[in-house]
Structures are given as structure tokens and as C-alpha cells.
């Protein structure tokens, strides 16, 4: 017994060591930032506190609360609508309502900013509420996806029991369905919260001064990298609180499905109710996707008429290839490392928990801050003489990929972790008892159940990477000019027409990824049931 345990340990040691190295490597750039708190720039803080900090905290809190409320209400109700009711266009809408995920907030932001400028006026259009609306429209799919999955997994039996105890259909929703979906909703909302906290592109369009914007303000205006880093530590603090709240919401609840389930009964809507349901779905899709894309297309047409469809660096295929290459490599790397972390971290131990936390810190830090953390880290390695002659990490593809992994590994890790956790230990044990080998269990049970979730997580990473701007802007190698960089070059001068072609290209690739995501989810759901 003891020898077996030792042998087991000896066999896993290289894995453990590798995991340790990965977690450490991924967390160093963030730790470099956090380290700055050790020597606080007191004078900067005093000045900030006396001037802008209260406003930043207010704006961040307002935006966070509004977008969280908005995405939860919108995402949950739309998910419930397409899951529990039958109405014309239901199936198509069920898919289309995920597509806002393909549109970066900064693109939706500038399109609506320009479109509403005339009817509303330039002053009214620059408001925190419109910013919150834009962020809600681009981010609600996170909640929607989680909620829909949760509703689909629920059994009609629970509802039936509630109904037999005298609940109306809507009471059953509030008292049974929604509470059981709570862990999933909290998971989706946590993702939304992170995106809102770290957004720097959308908020600035609308003159909203969040803490993330303040980090850039302090860093760029004063060149005081330390003070900026300290401010981002405040942001990490808020993110940690957010995660704690999510854990709290999730509670001890672990809802695993046992045996065969009967899905929720679908109620057919007729007449005005059906029309209202369809209209609601189409309206959201119209505002979040159809109208903005139509506007982009007219701009793109104008751009092609006036010959503004390329940049100094190259044409559309060149930028597209840059984007695809970086997205593919970064996503694959996140997937591998995410799998290794999930496989190798023993989170029953404190060390495993800490490692997991460290490796996923980057998601709570705004892109530009990750970029500067990575820059400082890699530059130190470049100077150390550890690398072969002529090798430099700063400004290399490796450096850029590394930074993107630091930022987005959390998305892969969380997705993979939660999918693998879905595999019920009792099912695995039963299969083993019935004589199935490990390989058979892995391919016949674990892969079908967790596989879809893993692919979904991978697609989410790809979408995030595709839209990424600040890290790529600072760390890209010569000859790598992604689509968001093109958008940035045009929008930083308010040249919307020139920004249309790359924006559309991002949306198009994003849409393909969303379709892949949906296909995976549908396909995965079929396999499990």
C-alpha cells in the first residue's frame, strides 16, 4: 500500500512540478504589479482621494451594479423565454440571442454613439447609462448561456412537485427553477463583472471614469507606473470581492443530475403573448446586432467607395491573418495550460487552491496593466542573459502570447474545471464496477460529458482574444497588425468609416466562433441526454 502510494507520488511529481511552474509563470506579471503596494506612492493617493478617486469609485459601482442587474434580468428572462415557451421563431432566436458576444463593446459603443448623437445630442449621448446599456447588450449572453444551460438541465419533476403543492407556473419559476439555476447565474454574472471592471475601451467613449480608466489616467498622465499599479490593486480587490460574492451565491448548493431526467415542459404561446415574445427577442437582437451591423455595412461601403479599406500595414487579408494566427496560438495555449491545471491541481489542498487563484489573477486586471506587468517581467528576462544570444522576448510572438495567456487563462481554466466537475463521481464508480477500463470511462463517459464544456470554454477564450486590444497594442511584434489595432487606429481619430471594415471582420470571425460555440453546446447536450 505504502509502496504503491510512493510510486504514485513519484509518477505525479513531474506533473506537479510542471503545474507549479505554469501557475508561477502566469502569475508573475500580476504579482509584479501587486508588489508595488509595498512602497505606496502616498502623495499620489492623497491627491487622488481629494480629487478623482471618489468619482471613479462611484462610476465603477454604478456601472457594475447597472450592468450586472441588466445582464441578469435580460439574460435570465430571455433564456427562460426560449426554454419554457414555444412561439414563432423560438429556435432561431435561441441561437441569435447569443450573437452579441461576437461584437466588441468598443465597436457597439462607437456605432451607437454616432447613431444616437443626432437625435439625443452630443451631451446626452455621453452618459454612464448609455455606456451601461452598451455593455449590457454585449455582455448579457454570458448570463443567457449559463441560464439556458441551467434551465435545460432542470427536471420537470421538481416543477411538477411544486405545482402539486399548489404553486402557479410563475411561482414554480421563482421558488424552484430560479433558485436551482442560481449557481449558474452567479457564474455568468461573475464573468460579466470581470469584463465590466476591466473594460477600458467602451467606458472612455462615453466619458465614464471608472477605476480601470483611472489606472490608465494615472499611468499615462504622470508616467507614474507605481501609482497606476497600486490603483489596479484596488481593482483586483474589487474583483476578489466579486468572486467571493459569487461563491456565496453559489453556496454549498451542488445540484447534480441523477439518472434520466424529463426536461421542462414547453408551454405554447398563442396570439398576443406569442407576438410579444417574438417581438422582445427580435428587438434585443436588432438593437445589439442587426442595426449596428447594418450601420457598419453602410460605413464599409462608403470606405470601399472612397478607397479606405486598407491601412499602412496592409490590406484586410493581412490583418485578418494576423488576428487569426494570434487568436489560434493564444487559445490553444490557454486550452493546454487550462487542462494541465485542472488535471494537476489538487484543490482539496490549500496549495492547490492558491495555485489556482494565482494562475487566474490576470482576468481581474485590465489589459493595459497586464501588458505593462508582462513588459517589465519579459524585459527583466531579456536583460538577465538566460536566453540564447539574439533572443528577445519583448516584441516577440512568444511575449505577446504569454501576455494573452496571463490575461485569459482564467476563462479556459474555469470553463474546463466546471465541466469536469459535472462528471458525477458515482457514475464513474458505477462504470468501473461494471468492468469498464479507465480509457473506456474517459472516452465514453468523461469526454462526452465534459468535452462540450471544454470546447465551449475554448471558444470563449478565442472570442476574448479576437477582440483584445490593449495588450496586443503594446506587445505586438513587428509585422503583426490585428483587426482591433486597425479599429483603434481609426477610432482614436473618430474615423468611423475607416473603422468599419475591420470591425465587420471581427464581428464575422466572432460570429463563426459563436456558431461553433452553439453547435458544441447543442451537440454536447444531445450526447449527454
Amino acid at each position: 500500500m505504502n509502496t504503491a502510494a510512493l510510486r504514485q507520488q513519484a509518477r505525479t511529481f513531474p506533473t506537479t512540478a510542471a503545474i507549479f511552474v505554469i501557475a508561477l509563470a502566469v502569475s508573475i506579471p500580476v504579482l509584479v504589479i501587486v508588489w508595488s503596494v509595498v512602497q505606496p506612492s502616498t502623495d499620489v493617493w492623497e491627491e487622488l482621494w481629494a480629487t478623482r478617486l471618489p468619482g471613479m469609485i462611484r462610476d465603477t459601482a454604478t456601472l457594475l451594479a447597472t450592468v450586472l442587474a441588466g445582464t441578469l434580468v435580460l439574460g435570465t428572462s430571455l433564456a427562460w423565454l426560449v426554454t419554457a415557451y414555444q412561439f414563432p421563431g423560438r429556435r432561431l432566436l435561441g441561437w441569435l440571442l447569443v450573437t452579441p458576444l461576437a461584437i466588441p463593446g468598443y465597436v457597439l459603443g462607437f456605432v451607437w454613439l454616432d447613431t444616437l448623437q443626432e437625435p439625443l445630442g452630443a451631451r446626452q449621448v455621453r452618459s454612464i447609462w448609455l455606456c451601461a446599456l452598451v455593455l449590457t447588450l454585449t455582455l448579457y449572453p454570458y448570463v443567457y448561456l449559463f441560464a439556458r444551460a441551467a434551465f435545460r438541465e432542470q427536471s420537470q419533476r421538481a416543477v411538477d412537485v411544486a405545482r402539486s403543492l399548489g404553486c402557479t407556473r410563475s411561482q414554480a419559476f421563482w421558488r424552484v427553477v430560479l433558485p436551482m439555476a442560481r449557481p449558474s447565474l452567479a457564474g455568468g454574472a461573475a464573468l460579466v463583472g470581470m469584463e465590466v471592471l476591466t473594460d477600458v475601451g467602451t467606458v472612455r467613449l462615453f466619458n465614464v471614469s471608472t477605476i480601470a480608466d483611472g489606472v490608465l489616467r494615472v499611468w499615462f498622465s504622470t508616467g507614474n507606473r507605481n501609482a497606476a499599479a497600486e490603483l489596479s490593486v484596488l481593482l483586483i480587490g474589487v474583483a476578489v470581492v466579486l468572486i467571493a460574492v459569487e461563491r456565496l451565491m453559489r453556496g454549498r448548493a451542488r445540484f447534480t443530475q441523477s439518472g434520466t431526467t424529463v426536461g421542462l415542459h414547453v408551454q405554447r404561446l398563442r396570439g398576443p403573448a406569442a407576438a410579444t415574445a417574438s417581438f422582445t427577442g427580435w428587438a434585443v437582437f436588432g438593437i445589439a446586432v442587426a442595426l449596428p451591423v447594418a450601420r457598419l455595412i453602410t460605413w464599409a461601403a462608403e470606405a470601399s467607395r472612397t478607397n479606405q479599406t486598407a491601412t499602412v500595414a496592409g490590406d484586410l487579408p493581412f490583418h485578418l491573418m494576423s488576428s487569426l494566427r494570434i487568436t489560434a496560438i493564444a487559445t490553444a495555449t490557454c486550452l493546454v495550460l487550462g487542462l494541465l491545471l485542472v488535471a494537476g491541481l489538487d484543490r482539496r489542498r490549500a496549495s492547490g487552491k492558491i495555485m489556482a487563484r494565482l494562475a487566474t489573477l490576470g482576468y481581474a486586471v485590465p489589459g493595459p496593466v497586464v501588458a505593462i506587468g508582462v513588459l517589465v517581467t519579459l524585459a527583466a528576462v531579456d536583460r538577465s542573459g538566460w536566453l540564447p544570444d539574439g533572443w528577445l522576448l519583448v516584441g516577440s510572438v512568444i511575449g505577446l502570447i504569454y501576455a494573452l495567456v496571463v490575461r485569459f487563462l482564467a476563462v479556459a481554466y474555469q470553463g474546463i474545471d466546471s465541466s469536469v466537475a459535472k462528471v458525477s463521481p458515482s457514475v464513474v464508480a458505477s462504470a468501473r464496477t461494471l468492468g469498464a477500463g479507465r480509457f473506456r470511462v474517459a472516452t465514453r463517459i468523461e469526454l462526452p460529458i465534459a468535452g462540450a464544456g471544454i470546447i465551449a470554454a475554448t471558444v470563449l477564450v478565442a472570442i476574448d482574444t479576437l477582440k483584445e486590444l490593449p495588450i496586443t497594442l503594446l506587445l505586438r511584434p513587428f509585422g503583426t497588425e490585428t483587426l482591433p489595432i486597425w479599429v483603434w487606429q481609426a477610432t482614436s481619430e473618430s474615423l468611423w468609416v475607416q473603422a468599419a471594415v475591420p470591425s465587420l471582420a471581427i464581428v464575422a470571425v466572432g460570429m463563426l466562433l459563436v456558431v461553433a460555440l452553439l453547435w458544441t453546446l447543442e451537440h454536447g447536450a444531445e450526447t449527454v441526454s
Partner: protein, 348 residues
């Protein structure tokens, strides 16, 4: 069990990623886009530039004239400065170009710019438009002026302080304090009027309830659309708008013409301390200051730093003006104070 399964999957994907990475490198580094083919093997000069409009044609001209290839990357001024500082001795950059005086000043203060001893540069660029130790050279000037609607405003303000006159309350457009142009303008106010008076002026702007717009083009459009009557903006954006619509209903008012002159900021260039190819860098700077002056300034409707070079036709049509050239060199020094002042007055 779960672990083994995940590890195996990870292995498969890793191989995939390596294949991808390998494929990627095939069409990668050798072909540096954003650069111009050399006419012969005269070397390459690598540029970090915070200015990304109209720069490419200028570099093309340079390459066809000298045979030196230009490899450049664009970015925000402060980020490029941070990258340069972090890279230290390993930087691939020979030249740093910024769109704003304070940012190149901060780079010089950080010790990443080299003092340049060049007679050609000294004679082309006036002393006020160079770094104290000739660490940087202005290549073009951008004037930040008062602009007003030609349809609704008969008597526009003629000083920056005038924009704060209660007459314009609720009718002014300004660029947010996050932008270097605003910071440099306020730095110039501090230099000219002292901190106390500068605070009063900025406070009077804030009290006028400005509409903050983070784009000079949109500021001009807001004036044209009647969102505001008076604004502060850079002239060259009007150059672009007038090219599209010659009747664009916004006019420039040269401010402070009875005194120090209109606030000017500069696009500038410098050779980095650790430039791998300082000779090519010097050739580029000298060329930009002489043969390339016209193209460089015209590309963006700016004013050439070399007074002997004629500005572009549209630019010339705005007439000559007194410019606050004396302040340019100090803008970087006073930028932190400007940022503090902006925060203290509640300027958004």
C-alpha cells in the same frame, strides 16, 4: 482518473498548438509589413511612433531617397515610452516619434533618448523646438486654438481665459483631461500665467459646464451642429474637414495674439540611447528636418518646424499667427502640475 484524461487531452492539443505556431512562423517575420522595400542594402531604421497618420508616405519617400528601409510600429505615446524604458539596452528601436511635447520630454527625463550632435538638425530646427541637450527635435507644430461657429458667433473669445467667460456657459466643447493635448495646453497656461491664474482660468472653463468630447474631429462637428458655439481644438483637424466640405461652418480664432501667442505642441523625433543603428536613425532625423519637412507637415495639415518651409495651401489660408514657441521646451516639465491642476478643478 479525471486528471489522466485531461493530461492526455492536453498533450494532443499541445501538439496542435506547436503545429499552428510553426505554420504561423512560415509567413511571419521575414516579411515585415508596414515598412517599405529597400532600394539597396543600406540597412534598416526601426521607429516607434505615436503618430500614425500620414507617416507612411513620408517613410516611403525617405526609403526611395536614401535606400534605408523603415520598420515601424505604432502605439500610444506613453505606452511606447514605457516599452522603450522597459527594453533598455535590448530595444530594437532606433527612433522614437511622439505626437506630443510632454511625452518626449518625459522620455528624455527617463534617460532613454540620446543627445544628438548634428549641424543639419541645429540649423533646420530652431533652438526653442529642440530638447535642452538636443535629445529631441520638433518636426512640425500643431496649434491648439479657439474655434467658433461662423453661423452663430460674431464675437468669439480671443484668449484662452475668454472661453471661461460666463457668456458661453453651457456652450463650450473641450477635450477631456485624459488627453495629452489638454494637459499640454494647461501646462502652457501655467508657464505663461502662473499656477494661481491658470487654476482660475481652468476653473472658469469647468464652471461653464463644458461638453467633453474625446476627439477633435467630433469637437468641430459639435460646433457645426450647434452643440456648442465655442471650443478649443487643434487646427489640422479643420484641414481634413475643409478638404471634405469647403463650406464647413467653423472658423479658427488665433488666441493670445497680443501676447505670447497661440499654444503650440509639437510632433517630435529622437534617437534612442540604445539605438542598434544610430547612423540610419540620424539620417532619418536629418532627412525629416530638411527634405522631408514639407511632406511630414503637409501629411497632416501641420506647420513645419523649419520656418523656411511653406505650410500647405489650406494651412496657409488660415493666415500667419503668433505662436507660443517659447513654452514648448518646458511643456514636459509642467505636465505633472497641469494634471494635478486639472484634477483639482474637477475638469473631467
Amino acid at each position: 482518473m479525471k486528471r489522466r484524461h485531461a493530461t492526455r487531452l492536453a498533450g494532443g492539443v499541445l501538439v496542435g498548438a506547436m503545429i499552428l505556431a510553426a505554420c504561423g512562423s512560415d509567413d511571419g517575420p521575414q516579411e515585415v509589413e508596414g515598412s517599405v522595400e529597400p532600394t539597396d542594402d543600406a540597412g534598416t531604421v526601426t521607429v516607434y511612433t505615436g503618430r500614425h497618420y500620414g507617416i507612411e508616405t513620408v517613410f516611403e519617400d525617405f526609403t526611395s531617397g536614401t535606400g534605408i528601409e523603415v520598420r515601424f510600429t505604432t502605439g500610444n505615446d506613453p505606452e511606447l515610452r514605457e516599452r522603450l524604458i522597459a527594453e533598455g539596452a535590448n530595444t530594437p528601436a532606433d527612433v522614437l516619434m511622439t505626437a506630443d511635447a510632454s511625452n518626449i520630454g518625459l522620455a528624455a527625463a527617463a534617460g532613454v533618448l540620446a543627445s544628438v550632435d548634428s549641424e543639419a538638425l541645429r540649423s533646420a530646427i530652431p533652438e526653442e523646438l529642440r530638447g535642452t541637450d538636443d535629445e529631441w527635435f520638433a518636426l512640425s507644430q500643431r496649434a491648439r486654438v479657439i474655434v467658433a461657429s461662423t453661423e452663430r458667433v460674431d464675437d468669439p473669445p480671443t484668449t484662452y481665459a475668454g472661453v471661461g467667460d460666463p457668456e458661453w456657459k453651457g456652450n463650450i466643447c473641450l477635450r477631456p483631461s485624459t488627453h495629452p493635448y489638454t494637459q499640454s495646453l494647461v501646462a502652457s497656461l501655467i508657464i505663461a500665467e502662473g499656477e494661481e491664474r491658470a487654476t482660475e482660468i481652468v476653473q472658469s472653463w469647468v464652471d461653464n459646464d463644458p461638453l467633453y468630447i474625446n476627439s477633435d474631429t467630433d469637437i468641430y462637428k459639435a460646433v457645426a451642429d450647434g452643440e456648442c458655439d465655442v471650443a478649443i481644438a487643434n487646427t489640422y483637424y479643420l484641414g481634413r474637414l475643409l478638404t471634405e466640405d469647403p463650406d464647413f461652418p467653423v472658423a479658427i480664432v488665433w488666441p493670445e495674439q497680443d501676447g505670447r501667442g497661440a499654444h503650440v505642441n509639437v510632433s517630435s523625433a529622437a534617437i534612442t540611447t540604445n539605438a542598434p543603428n544610430p547612423e540610419a536613425a540620424l539620417t532619418l532625423l536629418e532627412w525629416l528636418a530638411t527634405d522631408g519637412q514639407q511632406a511630414f507637415a503637409d501629411a497632416n495639415f501641420e506647420f513645419p518646424a523649419d520656418a523656411a518651409v511653406e505650410p500647405n495651401e489650406i494651412v496657409a489660408s488660415w493666415g500667419s499667427f503668433v505662436a507660443d514657441v517659447g513654452a514648448v521646451k518646458q511643456l514636459g516639465d509642467f505636465q505633472p502640475a497641469a494634471v494635478q491642476l486639472l484634477s483639482a478643478t474637477g475638469y473631467e
